[in-house]
Amino acid sequence: MSYFKDSLKRYGSLSLKNKIFSSILVVVLLISVAIAFVARWILVSSLTAELEMRGSAVAHSIAERGGTFMLDKDYPQLLSLIFDEARLHERKHLISYIFITDQGGEVLAHTLTRPFPSELRLANQVPQNENRSLRLVNVESESIHDIAVPIKEGLYRIGTVHVGLSKSHIDSLISKLRLTFLGFISAIIGIIFFLSNRITQYITRPISKLTRISDELSRGNFDISLDFQEDDQNWRPTECPAYVNTEMPCWHFDQSARQAATHRTCKNCVFYRKRSGDEVVQLGDSFRNMVWSIKLYRRRLRESEEKYRSLFDSGPDPVFVVDCENFHIADANPRAQELYGYEKEELLGMSYLALGPENRSDCLITYEGRGGGTGCLYHPKVLHYKKGTKPFYVNVHACPISYKGRHAIIIAVTDITEMIEKDAQVIQAGKMKSLGEMSAGIAHELNQPLNAIKMGSEFLALMEEQGRTASPEQFHQVVVEISAQVDRAAEIINTLRAFGRKAEMLKERIDVNKPIGSVLTIVRRQFELDNIRFNLDLGQNLPPILAQDNRLQQVFFNLLTNARDAINDASQASDMDARRSIGIRTSAEAGGVGVDISDTGVGIPDDVLDKIFEPFFTTKETGQGMGLGLAITYGIVRDYGGQIRIDSEPGRGTTFHLFFPQTH
């Protein structure tokens, strides 16, 4: 059993050529041997039988004719008869002897030229009722087939004829026949050997060639000749338009494009071709088509790779590929090195979190598909660090990607330092403009405490001049009043300075009532001089929001001055009956703080409402406003993740609803 297994194993490891060859050979050999055995058996047995039949025929003929001579006891006639039969032509080689015995077993005549061997006389006796007996006898070391036939006269047996057939003659005949047959079989095997060799070569040569070509292709050598048969001069795949234009889809190349239903096929495809021929030719064609497809795809792939590589390298913004498992930077473009100040060798492998810690949870979020429609995340205005931990502001896009078989994110960074500076400048300019508009009112506001101080000190000076002494009560009153008025002036100045100062970039936790209070310090009295009343409803213990006090002051300042302008558009300050009031309400809302600022002004028409936050949009007369106030307001509120909603009814007034999310 194990030997059989070993043979199978050894057979399995043979080359295809040897496999086919040896299989054919073994099968032909087996068949030949089987045929040889069957043929030999048939030939030998039928030849032997035929010769024996012939011997029997001779014996019967003698028995028929010799009966008379035996009855007449004419033994010389009988002898001449058997001699004639034995020596007739070729029979003399076959027949060794003929002898006749009588009923008693006495030899009456024989053809032997030597004394009759006595053991032969009774060696083969025909049993009663049989008309023939065959037996192999040995006479003087010679094997002889003895055929005995009884001689009958009527119903009585009167003697027996024995015909001896030489076994060596029969054997020589058989061996001659066997030799001829063996030669014939050998010739057939030889022919089949030759033919099978040719067939296996025909089958396996293209396969070997395919193997060789495949090996070359694997090594990247696509310039080898691909034709397995004769050169096909008409086949020029480089003329295929899809080969030159990589944008052109062709379903022969691109099965995936079929789903997009945009595939097209040329009427006469110069590329795809099947020649008539056997399976080997068709296999060769298929293989050639496949190789050309691969070639084309490699071209497209290389082109695409080059295209995206150059996009990556020449992009104006830094791009990182960050491994999601350990946040190591797997790749970075030259702009990233330039902006962050690291060498490429330093960047690769370093942790991205050293540049910007904001993206720590991005991998998880994008992996769970919470990144929105494109799967990407956006972080506006986050702080990143250059080499040497110098901070700067950026916008960050993070998109999931598979990079070298690993889960990664592509992080595109936009340096917005300049933009933020510009923003700050615009906001600052807007603020300065507001301050300029308010300067007259502020001067008046400052003049009030100055006036009280001046008059108090003038009173004391007057007393001193006239040599009088102020009473302790008067003195106390003046001193207390002066001190209070200095505080009041100082507060106005501090508020102004805080408002005019450039805002810091960092957000802090603040109570929204605080900037409202500061702005009211500046504008309240002035608005009241304009006959505008304030209705304040400021909620206590509001949750803190993440913002900048200074910027929020600007928001409320803009909204309050707009409200005043709207009121002044609706009615005159001197109109005693007009409703002239501004309401400010702050309250805790779900998830944050709401601020409502309402006025009794002219209101905003519907067709203007959606444009009102656009920069440079203004309803005021030329020279009255730049149209930046609400745009700046909107920008600031959005910066803190807040929202602005407007309810307005032309002729009755406007309410600005602001919402800021609370910080935790």
Binding site: N447, K454, E458, Q485, E528
Partner: protein, 238 residues
């Protein structure tokens, strides 16, 4: 004595200080925190002098001035304006305010304004000649006291005639310390000076109070004539 004074201002600290200061000057003070209250107090007390702030909520000083002048056209109303706000001051003068002082209020300015008001009241009471003509060496001097208003036109015209009759090389318009003017008075003066320039007369102004010098500069009278500190300076000028 009748030295009642009404002060209208929405600033309580300012009112407090006015009370101290004016008491030191010997006035009886009535204060009001807004225009409506002030009018009520004026009706009730009829003070000789009214000091009112202009910028006040609800009813401002201009409105108060108008209402007081409706009640009593001869009332001495001094308006208090923000520092250097001459536009408002002139607007008040056009509405027959007799004088103005700037905030922060200087003791000197206040006392002079009060003194001028007192003198104007005294002149009005004594019915004295508001405009007199004097002949000095090299000039005819018109001395103007009290208020120059629309009513002053015939007196001023007559005085100019007399000054011309003196045939001096120049005419000096001397404004007394107490002199005041309003919008109509300014228009009258401007017309007079333009007329003199057409005639080729040399007219100059002297002795004008600081307040009115500013007003003259703003309304453009200063461009028509030269304004000197005093008569002596005017005479000394070439």
């Amino acid at each position: 004595m009748e030295r009642k004074i009404l002060v209208i201002d929405d600033e309580q600290p300012t009112l407090n200080m006015f009370r101290l200061l004016l008491a030191a000057y010997g006035y009886e003070i009535i204060t009001a925190a807004n225009g409506a209250e002030g009018l009520e107090a004026f009706e009730r007390e009829r003070p000789g002098v009214v000091l009112t702030d202009i910028k006040m909520p609800v009813m401002d000083g201009i409105e108060v001035l108008k209402r007081i002048k409706e009640i009593d056209p001869h009332a001495e109303v001094i308006v208090i304006t923000g520092h250097g706000d001459m536009d408002l001051a002139i607007r008040a003068l056009n509405l027959d305010a007799t004088d103005f002082i700037n905030k922060p209020v200087q003791r000197v300015a206040l006392s002079q304004a009060l003194k001028r008001a007192e003198e104007r009241i005294a002149i009005a009471k004594s019915k004295a000649e508001e405009i007199s003509v004097e002949d000095v060496d090299g000039a005819a001097i018109l001395t103007i006291r009290g208020s120059v208003t629309a009513r002053s036109e015939p007196f001023l015209a007559r005085a100019m005639e007399r000054a011309r009759e003196l045939e001096r090389p120049r005419i000096i318009l001397h404004f007394d310390e107490s002199a005041s003017t309003n919008g109509a008075g300014l228009a009258l003066l401007t017309q007079l000076l333009l007329e003199a320039r057409e005639r080729g007369e040399r007219v100059c102004i002297a002795g004008l109070s600081e307040n009115f010098r500013k007003v003259f500069e703003i309304v453009g009278i200063a461009k028509l004539v030269v304004i000197y500190e005093s008569d002596a300076a005017a005479l000394a000028a070439p």
